[in-house]
């Protein structure tokens, strides 16, 4: 965290390598957040780039007294994702009528055995499909808590809501996710091993 503060300070002094350090340190987290919201690799890459452009432009507005750089970055990313969601809602409804089952693109291969790799892919697809069916408010709460591993306080800062609301959203989100997963497994006819 202190390292982030130092990098931010150097960035503001005009040191490009410091900005490079920030991008390298946080692009993976932002990319994963974007992917969980959109479910598409291409969209996740574009959104990650847009988020960092926004961060670069508004870096002076970051106040270390109000929280860590990571939390601020997550907030910027989340706001951008919400904007993107609202902006593309109409397009999404139209495209979902055309093609409801867009296959997930191939993800980076792992060194696991073929069977394990297939199971891992099934789990990933199931989770992403279930997240896509959730309402955005609940999805972001679950993603931040269970996938991005943020604590309640950080999530409250990112979402700009009280901790009680965060807890409630996370609980409702998990219940909804559990129901969606159960329904999807019922449609598939089998449960996926964890």
């Amino acid at each position: 965290m202190e390292q982030d503060q130092e990098l931010v300070r150097r960035c503001l002094d005009g040191e490009n390598p410091a900005w490079e350090g920030l991008v390298c340190a946080h692009s993976r987290k932002v990319y994963n957040l974007c992917y969980r919201f959109t479910g598409r690799i291409q969209d996740a890459e574009d959104l990650t780039q847009e988020v960092f452009i926004k961060v670069f432009q508004t870096l002076r507005s970051y106040d270390s007294a109000q929280g860590t750089f990571s939390t601020w970055l997550n907030r910027v990313a989340r706001n951008h994702l919400v904007d993107h969601y609202r902006r593309t809602r109409k397009d999404r409804v139209t495209s979902s009528l055309d093609d409801d089952s867009t296959p997930l693109p191939e993800l980076p291969s792992t060194r696991a055995a073929p069977t394990a790799s297939v199971e891992s892919r099934e789990r990933r697809e199931l989770l992403q499909a279930a997240l896509d069916q959730m309402s955005p408010d609940l999805r972001e709460a679950v993603v931040l808590r269970d996938l991005q591993d943020l604590d309640y306080q950080e999530i409250a800062q990112v979402l700009g809501v009280p901790q009680g609301t965060v807890k409630s959203r996370i609980n409702r989100g998990r219940l909804e996710l559990a129901r969606v997963i159960k329904r999807m497994e019922g449609m598939r006819g089998r449960a996926i091993d964890l």
């Binding site: 490009n16 390598p17 900005w19 490079e20 991008v23 390298c24 692009s27 993976r28 990319y31 994963n32 992917y35 996740a44 890459e45 990650t48 780039q49 960092f52 452009i53 670069f56 993800l107 980076p108 792992t110 891992s120 789990r123 990933r124 199931l126 989770l127 279930a130 679950v142 269970d146 996938l147 807890k167 409630s168 996370i170 609980n171 998990r174 219940l175 996710l177 559990a178 129901r179 997963i181 159960k182 964890l194």
Partner: protein, 224 residues
């Protein structure tokens, strides 16, 4: 506890955030309500599925793309430019060549007798290098030759002394055999006896080591 209450507390229960009394109530409800048991199991499974999800690795060019879109083509710093220039020098073959060059140069400097701390204009004259290198080479050769010669002399002296020392012992051992065995002519002497006799005829006082080595060392002394 009602279904709705249990539903609202499902996450707190699974994260261990319920107080003891509340937890006991919750578990008591689960004991009698199969619907809530299924619900809690489903939530637990959803959490496990999320936690087990692998973090995706973005494409390697994503960071470069972001940097290009924000700070543009970055100008490398002086340090990075130097590092990129020196990087080939750390390859083994280049390092070997550089090492050999340094070694050869140091040999040349030593041979030419140059003192790098006190260089004068005269030292920069190639004729002086050749002259000094030639002189050093001859000196080295002469010292090596003298060393070999000294070794030969010492070896020869040692072998002679060993021979002289062995002589009296041999004489004593072979003295009884000088008497002729019965039935044999006494004209022919024993080969060993002959050698002893011949040695004894030339027996002079043994020369001192210094006397023998002196001329040799004198010969080489001019080289030192």
């Amino acid at each position: 506890m009602t279904h709705l209450e249990a539903e609202n507390l499902a996450s707190d229960y699974l994260e261990g955030e319920l107080e003891q009394a509340q937890r006991a109530d919750f578990e008591a409800h689960l004991g009698i309500c199969s619907e809530c048991r299924g619900l809690v199991a489903g939530v637990r499974r959803a959490i496990e599925l999320c936690r087990a999800a692998e973090e995706l690795v973005p494409a390697p060019w994503l960071a470069s793309k972001i940097l290009l879109a924000t700070v543009g083509q970055r100008k490398p710093t002086l340090r990075e430019q130097l590092a990129s220039l020196l990087r080939p020098a750390f390859q083994p073959r280049i390092a070997y060549v550089v090492g050999m060059a340094v070694f050869s140069f140091s040999i040349f400097i030593n041979t030419a007798g140059l003192n790098l701390r006190n260089l004068s204009l005269q030292d920069l004259d190639p004729r002086a290098w050749v002259y000094k290198a030639n002189r050093t080479g001859h000196l080295l050769y002469a010292r090596a030759e003298k060393f070999c010669y000294d070794l030969r002399v010492v070896y020869e002296l040692e072998s002679r002394f060993r021979k002289f020392r062995a002589q009296p012992e041999k004489q004593q051992e072979e003295a009884p055999s000088n008497e002729a065995p019965p039935g044999r002519s006494t004209d022919r002497k024993h080969p060993g006896a002959f050698q002893l006799a011949s040695n004894s005829t030339s027996s002079k006082p043994l020369p001192r080591v210094a006397d023998v080595a002196h001329p040799v060392s004198l010969k080489g002394s001019s080289i030192r």
